[in-house]
Amino acid sequence: MRDISLIVKRVWKSAFMFTALSVLIVSSTQAQDVVEGRKLFKDNCSSCHQLDRNSTGPALTPKLTELDEAWAVKWIKNWKALVDAGDKQAIEASKFSPAEMTAFPRLKDEQIKNIIAYAKAGEPKKAGEDPKTEAASEGVSDFSIAGIIAIILISIAVLVVLGRAIKMLERLILQKQGVVIVEEENVSFATGIKGLFKNKKFVFFFILCLVISLGSFGWMGMWNTGVHTGYQPVQPIKFSHELHAGTNQIDCQYCHAGAFKSKNSTIPSLNVCMNCHKSVQATEKYDGEISPEIQKIYSALGYDPGTMSYDKTKQKPIEWVRVHNLPDFAYFNHSQHVVVGEQAIRKEKGLKPNEPVCFACHGPVDTMEEIYQYSPLTMKWCINCHKDTKLDVKGNAFYDKIIEAHEKIKKGEKITPAALGGLECGKCHY
């Protein structure tokens, strides 16, 4: 079911994006410098500046409207030179924050002017893009499913009606041809079934079918008990891996740094989120308001984006719902697989070079709007991989002696984790 809704969602989304983009292009032809300025702003300034509010640096729209453009260009190019030259306005401005602004000598005057033009104009209002459409696009999937069902029902009804009509017409034609229609014996449905059940062969066949289907259903059900592939709980923050890992191409390690050092991959603490979300507030999507999801980060930290201060008394940790639940008695170490076994796992799972090794078990995280459990995480699943994967121990001196010993005993056999004792109980269960 999810797959259908995902597909529908994606179709709707691309259609929506297309319209939005075309609107943007239409509007952008009218103000070339603003669009370029917007791009430059996003690339260079947005990590510290917001248009309409102070962040690390001051709010740019009011500031740049008030400033003389020529001076502003000089400031942006190299504010330090201005300060050193003793420009009073510059000295005053440099006191805004202890954090020093980066100088941009590589930007051309024209580019800086574009930025200023963009900043003065503010975020262009795009036609039809108000928060409600976003909400509507969320609701689309349910609607479309209902629509499809309705269409199917209607077409069935149409088919039935058409069938009746054809029968009537046939009868009319036959009557006209003078054929006497022998009315079929009007045997009631119930007596028909009763008759069927008197047929011993049918009864036997029926019971056999019932047993086989129930049995196989039960068998499958048993095997999948406790297997939660596809488990996708509702998280306290609607965090999109699709956006972060897919669109924005943020490396997995940036947030899950533990995976490369420790047994835990670690859910990032909020200070990691704040590295970007101090300035990335997605206000453009929420009519100048901070995104409600990003606001959740701020609330948890007791952070006030206006004053940029933390209130420790209001801090409250975020309770994520664990998606990947290994049984308590299974010891799994991320670093063993992500660092030591990386190459072997890549080869075995056929990952593309640009895909992180994490995808081997966690699936295409870069396309997951909300994260779900991709692999079954059963012991069979672990063991199969340990049996099939050929170790890649090149350049790891740890394995030299072990491989040598292994070769002596089982010459030429594939060296898998299983061959080196990876299937022994105590290796994972202690």
């Binding site: 909020l270 719902v321 002596k408």
Partner: protein
């Protein structure tokens, strides 16, 4: 979920009336109507069948529904702001120190979970004792107070620091103005910063005096050294330089001054490395009760407490050629004989021998000084110039404090790390005096015996939450640094004193740092951050001067003789510090309560130890409860029959009988401190008592009984003399072995082969490995009742075996019929129970301690009988145990020849019946997250710290380097002061363990049954010499 309540069917069960007990013997309360059911009418009734089907249908449906649950919702809560140094899943280590031992504290996600010795400590890295290992549990003690307490009306109530500060300062000013005395009472303080804080406090309130006393006092040694050499110190003893050690009731491998350090020094002359060089020290022990040190002695001579003085005098005469009066031992010819020979031997080993004495009597210690001077110990085995600073208590000052308090001269008193309402001889005088003090402040972390009598409990941090330092020896400094934020609303005692004395520096961290940067670091040429990294600094030791005893002994001899005569009047009682409980400070530590006494193997109790023959003479049997009375105090304790105990003496361990320690420690055993007496200016730990039977009986919770030898050749030993001729003597390696047959194929171990070697000559039996294993592997504490049922869960135990030194075959029955005697070793050990029964002299026993843990047999008998393959072999030589496969048939335990498999009878960590340990979320923070907690109904055993093996291997893989010998250490091995446990890869011929396993002394326990154990033991070697041996 286990029941968290106690249920009972009726009052009779609750009260356990005799009727109930009688009825309870029947399986069913009423006769079952079996006849009724089986008659025709019963069988033809319709309802039972239909009810059965209904129940079956409902049950099946319910079970199916229950199984159809969706994925479990587990919350995963990351840090809000992660500290930079923390990576979840990876431990951090911090250097610190515990009781003068330099340690590493392992923390996971900010929680201290394990104590390990600090490898930076160099010569001072002596492993850790059981107390240090167990100390991490004290941090998570639920019996601690959560906030400071202030007296309001007649009771102590929760308060806050500002109220307490105002109250204490007000009272202090009143006290100062009235000119009355202010006293800070503490146990010995060696921390330079704490001393400085106290000094600052004294300058703010000049009426203050710092009184130090220790419940186990060393004042006798300090005063004697002051008297003899003008140095009021506990000297530094160098057991590593002593080739001949003579100890008079000093348990120097256990509790005396610093056991773990002396163990490491002592073993240096006795372990496999030393033996391989053909060197082994000799050790004589003269004592009344069987101490840990006594069990390790080459020759142990039981002497009565009253004979100790005369014996020392005799030894003095023997080494100096004098003939002081009173040196006769009319009733102990053995001791007399040994001492005469020993005198000669000491003179032969001049400068290489050491005499120590556990007495706290100044006169006795002066005599010991005279002996040591005569044998040239000063400057070699005894160092007075780099003295130990662990003990500085002054008994007389404390006694004077009691007088001052009772005279009403004291206006304010502070108790730091001390509990006089429990651990002094005359608690009544103390409590009476305390009532006359206006301001009584305790820095205890709980409302203990003393704190509950105070006006203020200014709860102190645990040492794992504190800043601090230690100065265990002259010139040797170590740091204490916090490894966790204070859990409760506590404040460090030093900080409280700084605040109350209006010190300009209020924060103790700054104070410690300033103190180090000003007074300690410049001399060492180091910086503060170096201290935080290495944890210890030792200045170059001063040259140890050779001191000569030149005082006259005429003043001391009459005291020694009169002490001896006073003791000889009645049954001589020795009260001593036991290895697990020490002075009782950590009585609430369940790990320590369940640590078996190394000799008696008793847990959760103290007892009165009597020699078998003496008990028989008095008419007591084992476990009879007897009443022990001196002129002012009476307690009732069960009797323990202790072979080796001197006739006419009894021993009781101190540290028990606390009643305000907490959940685990309250009312365990009886308090023996009131038997301590204060005479001639020091505390004396010997007195005379009368014993009377009470007719009651109570079984002690022992982990091992006396006679479990069953005649098997488990312990192999030889004498040093024989060893020098033939290193393989006694090990069974010097002659053809029993032919054995294999039923199984050989296991291939291509990669690593994890094996262990245990040096029986190094193991002293102290038990610190047991506690280390408990902490590392989340081993539950089961309590007294369960231990009685032999259900303790320890993965490693130390078996104590007695054997009997029989002189020249005078008793044919005792000599054994070749069964118990070990080939040609020459030691006549009696091992058969029926032979033991014939022995009439159980005084002269020798003891071997054998650490016993899963032997990781290659052909493990447990594996073949497991019906569910829950225990299987690995390709690196380990015997794995998969708890979740285990269905609890216990066949494996039955089939294990070493009896090392332990069964979980209960969910010990979640069952209200075991409410002294892990039954709360707070204490569960001590669990090692890398090791699972086992559920009820499964078997468990030593895993060879597989989490450490896997962790060590991964570390090497990540660093792309081969695994080095020593990368992986077992918890037991790390804790061992004696280096008796060697672990490593048997496939690496150069590893330490491979070298050790190639020793001629190696034998495998029960090797004749060919289970091919992975742990080799080295024969016990005793340096006994027939010319001197008793």
């Amino acid at each position: 979920m286990e029941s968290n309540k106690k249920y009972w069917k009726g009052l009779e069960e609750y009260k356990n009336t005799p009727d109930f007990v009688e009825n309870n013997k029947n399986e069913f309360a009423e006769p079952l109507p079996i006849e009724d059911v089986l008659n025709e009418a019963g069988l033809s009734t319709v309802t039972p069948r239909r009810d059965f089907l209904k129940a079956l249908g409902f049950g099946l449906g319910a079970v199916t529904l229950a199984a159809c649950q969706t994925a479990p919702v587990h919350k995963s809560i990351p840090y809000l702001i992660k500290p930079e140094e923390v990576v979840p899943g990876i431990p951090n280590y911090y250097v610190s120190s515990y009781n003068g031992q330099s340690i590493l504290v392992k923390t996971r996600e900010g929680r201290p979970i394990k104590i390990e010795p600090n490898p930076n400590a160099g010569a001072f890295n002596c492993g850790t004792d059981a107390q240090a290992q167990a100390s991490v549990l004290d941090l998570y003690d639920v019996s601690k107070l959560k906030s400071p307490q202030l007296k309001s009306g007649n009771s102590l109530t929760e308060s806050n620091w500002s109220k307490i500060d105002a109250f204490v300062k007000g009272e202090l000013n009143k006290a100062q103005a009235s000119g009355k005395k202010i006293r800070i009472v503490s146990s010995s303080v060696n921390s330079p910063s704490t001393k400085a804080v106290v000094a600052d406090f004294i300058s703010a309130y000049p009426n203050t005096k710092h009184v130090q006393y220790d419940p186990i006092s060393y004042t006798g040694i300090i005063k004697a050294n002051e008297n003899s050499f003008g140095k009021a110190v506990v000297p530094k003893y160098n057991f590593d330089k002593a080739e001949l050690v003579v100890s008079f009731s000093a348990d120097f491998l256990g509790t005396w001054i610093s056991g773990e350090e002396f163990t490491s020094q002592y073993i240096a002359n006795r372990d496999y490395k030393s033996l391989a060089k053909g060197k082994m020290s000799r050790h004589f022990q003269f004592e009344a009760g069987m101490s840990l040190t006594g069990t390790n002695a080459d020759t142990r001579v039981p002497v009565k407490l009253s004979e100790e003085g005369p014996a020392l005098l005799a030894l003095y005469n023997a080494v100096t050629g004098n003939s002081l009066a009173g040196a006769s031992l009319p009733n102990n010819t053995t001791a007399d004989k040994v001492i005469k020979l020993l005198g000669k031997e000491l003179l032969q080993n001049k400068g290489k021998s050491l005499v120590v004495c556990g007495s706290n009597d100044v006169s006795t210690q002066i005599l010991v000084n005279a002996i040591n001077s005569a044998i040239g110990s000063y400057g070699t085995t005894i160092d007075l110039d780099n003295p130990s600073k662990r003990y500085a208590g002054n008994d007389a000052e404390f006694a004077e404090l009691l007088n001052e308090m009772n005279r009403g001269e004291v206006a304010a008193v502070f108790f730091l790390d001390t509990n006089p309402a429990y651990d002094i001889t005359n608690t009544k005088s103390f409590t009476d005096g305390l009532a006359k003090v206006a301001l009584k402040v305790s820095f205890a972390d709980r409302s203990d015996e003393t704190a509950s009598l105070c006006d203020v409990i200014a709860i102190n941090h645990n040492y794992l939450e504190s800043w601090g330092d230690a100065n265990a020896y002259e010139g040797y400094y170590s740091i204490v640094q916090p490894t966790i934020n204070p859990v409760f609303n506590s404040r460090q005692a030093e900080e409280s004193l700084l605040i109350w004395s209006d010190n300009p520096v209020k924060e103790y961290y700054t104070y410690v740092r300033n103190n180090w940067e000003k007074n300690i670091l410049p001399a060492l040429g180091k910086e503060w951050k170096d201290v935080l990294q290495t944890g210890v600094f030792a200045a170059a030791a001063k040259p140890a001067g050779a001191y000569t005893f030149s005082q006259s002994l005429t003043a001391v001899i009459p005291t020694i003789i009169s002490n001896s005569k006073a003791l000889a009047k009645d049954i001589e009682l020795q009260v001593y510090e036991s290895i697990p409980m020490r002075n009782g400070k950590h009585a609430n530590n369940a790990f320590l309560q369940e640590l078996p006494d190394p000799v008696s193997k008793v847990t959760w109790d103290n007892y009165i130890a009597l020699a078998p023959k003496f008990a028989e003479k008095l008419g007591f049997k084992e476990f009879d409860i007897v009443s022990i009375t001196d002129d002012k105090y009476t307690i009732e304790l069960p009797v323990l029959i202790q072979p080796g105990q001197a006739q006419g003496t009894a021993s009781i361990a101190l540290g028990y009988g606390r009643n305000k320690a907490g959940k685990a420690g309250d009312n365990v055993g009886k308090n023996a401190f009131p038997f301590v007496s204060f005479t001639n200016g020091t505390f004396k730990y010997a007195t005379t008592v009368k014993l009377t039977g009470t007719g009651k009986r109570e079984e002690l919770a022992q982990t091992q009984t006396h006679h479990s030898f069953e005649g098997r050749n488990i312990i192999r030993e030889a004498t040093f003399k024989e060893y020098k001729k033939n290193p393989a003597i006694g090990s069974g390696n010097d002659h053809a072995k029993h032919k054995s047959y294999d039923m199984w194929d050989k296991y291939e171990k291509p990669g690593n082969n994890w094996v262990m070697a245990i040096d029986l000559n190094a193991c002293t039996g102290c038990g610190s490995c047991i506690v280390a294993c408990n902490v590392e592997n989340n081993i539950p504490v089961v309590g007294k009742e369960e231990v009685r049922k032999r259900r303790e869960m320890h993965w490693i135990r130390i078996d104590r075996y007695y054997s009997f030194n029989v002189e020249g075959g005078e008793d044919e029955g005792a000599h054994g019929s070749g069964h118990g005697t070990h080939g040609s070793t020459g030691i006549n050990a009696v091992t058969k129970e029926k032979e033991i029964a014939h022995l009439d002299n159980l005084d002269n026993v020798s003891v071997v301690h054998q650490p016993m843990l899963c032997q990781h047999c290659d052909h493990a008998p447990c594996e073949t009988v497991c019906p569910v393959l829950a225990t299987v072999h690995s390709s690196d030589g380990l015997n794995h145990m998969a708890y979740n496969r285990c269905v609890g048939t216990r066949y494996c335990a039955n089939n294990c020849p070493y009896k090392v498999r332990r069964f979980n009878w209960f969910n010990y960590w979640n069952d209200s019946r075991f409410d002294n340990y892990l039954n709360n979320e707070f204490t569960q923070l001590v669990l090692n997250p890398d090791v699972t907690t086992r559920s009820r109904g499964v078997m468990e055993k030593c895993s060879m710290c597989i989490q450490r093996i896997q962790g060590g291997k991964l570390q090497a893989k990540m660093e792309k380097r081969p695994l080095k010998d020593g990368d992986i250490k077992m918890a037991c091995q790390e804790a061992c002061s004696a280096n008796a446990i060697i672990f490593g890869d048997g496939n690496d011929p150069n590893s330490e363990v491979s070298k050790a396993l190639r020793s001629e002394r190696i034998y495998y326990v029960l090797e004749e049954i060919n289970v091919q154990p992975g742990i080799g033991y080295m024969t016990k070697i005793r340096n006994t010499d027939t010319t001197v041996q008793a």
